[in-house]
Amino acid sequence: MSTVIDLIGLELAPYTYSVDQVKIKEFAEAIGDLNPIYFDEAVARQEGYDGIPIPLTFLQVIDMWGGYSFMEKCEILHLNPVKILHGEQGYKFLKPIYARDILTVTGKVADVKIKEGSTGAMNLITLEFEYQNQTGEIVAISTNVTIERH
């Protein structure tokens, strides 16, 4: 029988998605972050950006809309949707990302750990994603730890 540990190294099929200015606005507004650099390109340029930059957590949009939906992800990783929690999330930015960039994302299961917690055993599944822009530069790396309670 396969176990959750066998997921280590599993590569997710890559996906490509464009960074859309309207989506940046929608995302910033949903958070309630009304920083004008996300809404007005002229302001962003004045502040030293080469376009409308993405909010720090915007890459989630690329992953959810361009990649796998919540349910698809559960299926690929054999996760029980009502037993999982988002444990940790990290973003490393290597180059600026602006509206109109086109990002190609490759992801893999970087690590799986089974831990005995005070409330029972759980699986810790670490996914790593690399974001490459249209000129082939790696612009960001994200790390996501999902907790699945047994």
């Binding site: 949903a30 720090l56 949707p81 930015f93």
Partner: protein, 140 residues
């Protein structure tokens, strides 16, 4: 706004950012904006099945924490952010984002701490960020 490396003081707190209380409508908006349609965040029955009731997206709270960070330091100077989701956040709760400079390192890098807490100080999300700030003389 902390603009220059020289002006960063270890341990000195950044001004707290106070958010509006989280509404169910905000969770619906965030689900649509982010594409995270885990029904735990929007569907009552699923919340009940999970035993928690409806909870906010952890990433919404990280987004608020990030808003705090980019209200302290310009977006373009932030090189990384990493958080741990500590406690569930429920509709009606109000998030305050607090933080401080933890360390100053070489090459104009600063390490900062950020926390999203509720009205009673319960930590929902805690993490660290890295920012590279210009020096005053570099600007000329």
């Amino acid at each position: 706004m902390l603009k220059y490396y020289e002006d960063a003081d270890v341990d000195s707190p950044f001004p707290a950012l106070t958010k509006d209380p989280i509404s169910r409508v905000q969770l619906v908006k965030y689900a649509g904006a982010s594409g995270d349609f885990n029904p735990l965040h929007t569907v009552e029955e699923v919340g009940e099945e999970a035993g928690s009731g409806i909870i906010a997206h952890g990433m919404l709270i990280m987004g608020m924490a990030s808003q705090g960070v980019t209200s302290w330091i310009e977006r373009k100077n932030i090189e990384s952010i990493r958080v741990r989701f500590q406690k569930m956040t429920y509709p009606g709760e109000q998030i305050h984002v607090i933080g401080k400079v933890l360390k100053k390192e070489e090459n104009n890098l600063i390490i900062g701490e950020v926390k999203a807490v509720n009205e009673t100080g319960e930590v929902k999300v805690s993490g660290v960020f890295e920012a590279r700030l210009p020096s005053k003389e570099m600007e000329g």
